[in-house]
C-alpha cells in the first residue's frame, strides 16, 4: 500500500462509515494471516531449493510422506478458515440489517445512470447527498439490466437486480466526497455509470436541502410541492386511475364510491391486517409489492380485484414516486376525485362486484377500514364489500 501512495492513490482507501472500519479490521486480519502463510511457504521453498540443490554425487532421499504433517497442514488452515468465516458472517449480517427507523432512500439503476429519490421527495441523478452521522436505508433496483451500486469508501456494494428490491444501509461518519461505481457490467456506458456521494455536516446538509423542493408536511387539502417525488406520484395516481378506486368518496349507493378499495390516506407506516390474521407493516417494500403483485398480500376484508402493474406499465422510478406519494398522503390530503373515468381494466364495476359476493347491505363492515384515520389500509387491491366503510 506504500507503493500505492507514491502512485496516486492514498495510503489506505478512505473510510467513511464505522462499518468500513470494522470491515477493514477483518480484511487486515485475513491479510496478516495469509501473508504469513504465504511467506512461510516461500521461505520453505527458498530454503529447500538452496539446501537440496543438486550436488555432485548427491543422492535424494526416498521420502514418501507423513500422515502427521498432512494432518497438521490440513487442520491449521481449516481452523483459520473457520475464524475468517465467523468474522465475515458478523460483518455480512451487519450490512444486511438496516436500523429499523432509518429513512429509506430509493435507488434505481438504468443504463447508464443512477436515479436516487430521498424520502423527503428530493430527487437526484448520480449524486447522493447524505448527512454526517445519520443512518439511511437504501433500497435498490434496476430498470433494465443488472447493475451494482458500490461505494468503496463505505465498503458497501450490492447488486441492482431488475425485478428485485435489495436493501442495504449506510451511516456515514466522515464528511467528504466519495465515488459511486457501477460494479456489474451493464453495457456500453458501464464505466460512465458513476457518481459521487457527498457526506455533508448537519448545517451543510440543511443548506443543501434549502435549495431543493421537499414535501413538507402540510395542511389537509394541500398538494405536494411541484417537482418532488410525491408530486410526480400524484400525477401518476391520477393518470393510472388509482384514484378511481382508492379514493375518499364513500357513498354506498354510488358507483363512484370507493367501495372497491381502501382509502390510502395515512396508510404509510401503519399496520395492515391481512387475510388470515397476520399483519404487515405498510412500508415501501409492502407498497411496491402490492402494486406489482396485488394478490401477494390482501388487506383483510377486501377482495383481491386490483390488477397487477408490471414494469411495462409502471417503471421502477414511477413506482418509487407512487410510494413517495402514498407516504405523503396523510389523513385528509387526498384530493377529491374529479373525473368519472372507468375503473382500471380488470376491476369490476362496483355493482357487479358487490353483487357476486355479497348481498346489498348486510355486511357489517368488520373490516379494518380506515376508520378515520390511522391504520389506513393498504393501498392497492382490495375491495371491500358493499356498504360500509368508514372513513371519510
Amino acid at each position: 500500500m506504500l507503493l500505492a501512495e507514491g502512485l496516486g492513490l492514498p495510503l489506505w482507501p478512505e473510510r467513511a462509515t464505522e462499518f468500513a472500519v470494522r470491515y477493514d479490521w477483518l480484511f487486515i486480519y485475513i491479510l496478516v494471516v495469509t501473508t504469513i502463510a504465504g511467506l512461510l511457504v516461500y521461505a520453505g521453498l527458498t530454503y529447500l531449493c538452496f539446501r537440496y540443490a543438486k550436488k555432485p554425487g548427491g543422492t535424494s532421499q526416498r521420502v514418501l510422506g507423513s500422515h502427521k504433517l498432512e494432518l497438521i497442514w490440513t487442520a491449521i488452515p481449516a481452523a483459520f478458515f473457520l475464524s475468517f468465516f465467523v468474522g465475515s458472517t458478523i460483518i455480512f449480517d451487519e450490512v444486511s440489517h438496516p436500523p429499523a427507523d432509518a429513512p429509506e432512500i430509493f435507488v434505481v439503476g438504468k443504463q447508464w445512470m443512477w436515479k436516487i429519490q430521498h424520502p423527503n421527495g428530493v430527487r437526484e441523478i448520480n449524486e447522493l447527498h447524505l448527512q454526517d452521522g445519520v443512518a439511511v436505508k437504501v433500497t435498490i433496483t434496476s430498470e433494465d439490466v443488472i447493475h451494482n451500486f458500490g461505494i468503496p469508501a463505505f465498503r458497501n456494494k450490492i447488486d441492482a437486480m431488475p425485478g428485485r428490491y435489495v436493501t442495504t444501509w449506510y451511516k456515514p461518519n466522515k464528511v467528504g466526497t466519495y465515488h459511486i461505481f457501477c460494479d456489474q457490467y451493464c453495457g456500453q456506458g458501464h464505466s460512465q455509470m458513476v457518481g459521487k456521494v457527498h457526506v455533508l455536516s448537519k448545517d451543510d446538509y440543511a443548506a443543501w436541502l434549502e435549495g431543493h423542493k421537499t414535501d413538507a408536511p402540510g395542511t389537509p387539502g394541500d398538494r405536494p410541492t411541484d417537482g418532488t417525488a410525491a408530486w410526480h406520484g400524484q400525477q401518476l395516481f391520477f393518470k393510472l386511475q388509482c384514484i378511481n378506486c382508492h379514493n375518499n368518496v364513500y357513498d354506498a349507493d354510488s358507483v363512484n364510491s370507493s367501495n372497491r378499495a381502501p382509502n390510502l390516506e395515512g396508510l404509510f407506516g401503519s399496520k395492515v391486517p391481512l387475510e388470515g390474521g397476520k399483519t404487515v407493516s405498510a412500508d415501501g417494500a409492502y407498497i411496491r409489492e402490492s402494486i406489482r403483485n396485488p394478490e401477494a398480500k390482501v388487506h383483510a376484508g377486501w377482495k383481491a380485484i386490483m390488477p397487477a402493474y408490471p414494469r411495462a406499465q409502471v417503471s421502477e422510478e414511477e413506482l418509487g414516486q407512487l410510494v413517495a406519494y402514498i407516504q405523503y398522503l396523510k389523513k385528509g390530503k387526498l384530493p377529491k376525485r374529479t373525473s368519472q373515468d372507468a375503473a382500471p381494466v380488470g376491476a369490476p364495476t362496483a355493482g357487479e362486484s358487490l353483487g357476486d359476493k355479497v348481498p346489498p347491505a348486510p355486511i357489517p363492515a368488520p373490516a379494518p377500514q380506515p376508520d378515520d384515520k390511522k391504520p389506513a389500509d393498504k393501498k392497492p387491491e382490495e375491495k371491500k364489500p358493499a356498504p360500509t366503510k368508514g372513513g371519510n
Binding site: 470491515y23 480484511f27 495469509t34 511457504v41 510422506g65 458500490g150 431488475p162
Partner: protein
Amino acid sequence: MATTHAPATTPTTLELDYTPQTAPPVVDVDGPPKVHYLNHSFGWLSWLLTVDHKRIGILYLIPLTIFFMCGGIAAGLVRLNLIQPYGAILELDQYNKAFTAHGTIMLFLFLIPVIPGVLGNFFVPMMIGAKDMAFPKLNLASWYVWMGGAMFFIAALLFGGLDTGWTFYPPYSSKYSHTNVIWAGLGVFITGFSSILTGLNIIATVHKMRAPGMTWGRLPLFVWAMYATSVIQILATPVLAMAVCLLATERIFGVGIFDPSLGGDPLLFQHLFWYYSHPAVYIMILPGMGVINEVITCFSRKNIFGYKAVAWSSVGIAVVGFLVWGHHMFLSGQGVYLGMVFSVLTMLVAIPSAVKVFNWTATFYGGQITFEAPMLFTIGFIVLFTIGGLTGLFLGILGTDIHLHDTYFVIAHFHFTMVGGMMFAWQAGLHFYWPKMTGKMYSDFWSRLAAVIMLVGFSLTFLPQFVAGYHGLPRRYPYYPVEFQMMNILSTAGATIQGFGYLMPAVYLPLSLFFGRNAGANPWRATGLEWQTPSPPTMHNFEELPIVTHGPYEYALPSKFTLEDGHAHETKGGNGGH
C-alpha cells in the same frame, strides 16, 4: 517421517538394482527411431484422418497456440487502452468487445482444452502403458467438433463481435446486447460437446486400458488429475449447454426465462452458469496441477510427498467444486443463509488446494534439485498459485467479498490462479514434454530466461491490480478515475514484458525442430512409462506391453535413470532419513 504411500511391492532390500515402473527395461535410445509417429505417413489426410492420440494431440496444439495469441492480442488492446483514464485507443464498444474476446477465447478456447487436449491426449495413454485411447475415432471426432465450435465462435467475434463479457449475464445478453450472442453461444455449446467426449474417452481409457500392474495406486498423478477433470467435464458441461440453450430461447423467441420484464429470473441464469463455470475453473487448473506433480518429482529426484493426499485432493476438489458456485452471487440477493452455506463450502474446497501446495513444497525436501526450464516454470507456478489461492480467500469469504466483488481484486486473483497457475503449468508441461513429443531439445538458456521474464512480467501486471481493486476500481471499466492511472500504467508495462515472455517459446521451440539437438528417449531421466519409449514415440508407443511393478516417481531408488550414469546411488531407505 512415516510413509503414507509405498509401492505395493516395496522391496525389502532397497539396494536391489531395478528399473522403476517397467519390465523389461527399455534401452535409453539416443537419437530418434527411424520410423516414428511423425513420419510414418505424410500428407494432409494422414493428419486430418488420423486416429493416433499423439497426432491428435499435435492437432490440438497448433490451433490452441493460435487462439492463445488471439486472446493475447485482445488482452494487449485492453491493457493499452487503459493507460489513459479516458481510453487511449478504443471506443467504449470496442473496449467491451476486446475484453469479452480476451475472456471468452482464453477460457473456452484455450484454458479449458489446452492441457486435456494436448498433454492429456498425448500422454495419458502413454503414462498408463496403452497403445491409444479407448475410443480413437471418438477422439478424432472430438477434435472436429471442437474445431467446428471454435470456428463458430471466432466467426461470431470477427463478424460483429460480442460484448457481454464471458459471463453472458441476462437480461443484458438476452435483450440489450446488439452483438452476436447467439452465434457465440452456439460456439460454446458445440465446443462443450467436445469437452464431454474427451472426458468420456479419458475416463474409459483410464479404467480399461491400463497396462498390467498399473493399479490405481500406481497411476501417475497427472492421470489422476485428468481423471478428476474428466468427471467434472462430463457432469458440468451439460448444464452450461442448457443455460446457453435457454438464453438463446429467450433471445430468439422472447420466452421469459431470465428477463424479469417477461416474468423470468436473472438469478436462474447465474445459478446455471456458475454451476458449470465454477467447476470449469477446476477443469482448467486440475490438469495443470497434474503436470506440476510430474515435473516437480523429476527435477527434485523424489517421490511425491504424500501420493494419496495429492491424488485424493484432486478428487476432493472435483467433488466439492460442484457445491460452491453460489460464491459468485453473494451480492445478488440470493439470500444470507445461502451465502453462508456457499461460503463454508468454499473454505472447504480451499483446503485440498492448500494441501497440494504444502505437499509440493515438501517434495523438495531431501531432493537433488536441478533448475531446468520446466522446473523454473513449476516453481513459478507454486509462487504465483500460492498468492492466487490465498487471495481467493478474501473473495470466498462472505464479509470481505462485499467490497472486493467485481473489482480488479477479482481480476488479479483470477489471473494469479489461471495464468500464474494454469499458464505456468502449461509452460512447464510443454517444456517438460517437448523433447518427448518432437525428439528435439530446445535452448536451455532461452527457455530459462523466458520463465524468469514471464514471472517478472506477470507479477508486475497483476500485483498492482490487487491494490487498485482494494481501492475500489471496478472491473470492465474503459474509463476510470484518474487516480488509478499509475496502477494501470504499471499493469500495462507488466503486460508488455509478459507478452515478450510468451513470444519467446513461440520462437525457440519451433527453432528447436530444425536446430535442436536430439533429445534421446529420456532427457530428464524420468521414471514414467512415457519416457521408456523413444523420442518421438513410435506409432504404437510400446514395442512390448509394459509391465508395471512399482509406483511412479521412484527416483530415489538406484536405477539406470539416475542422473549420472555409472554412479551408484545410495538410498536412505523407505523412511526418508532425517
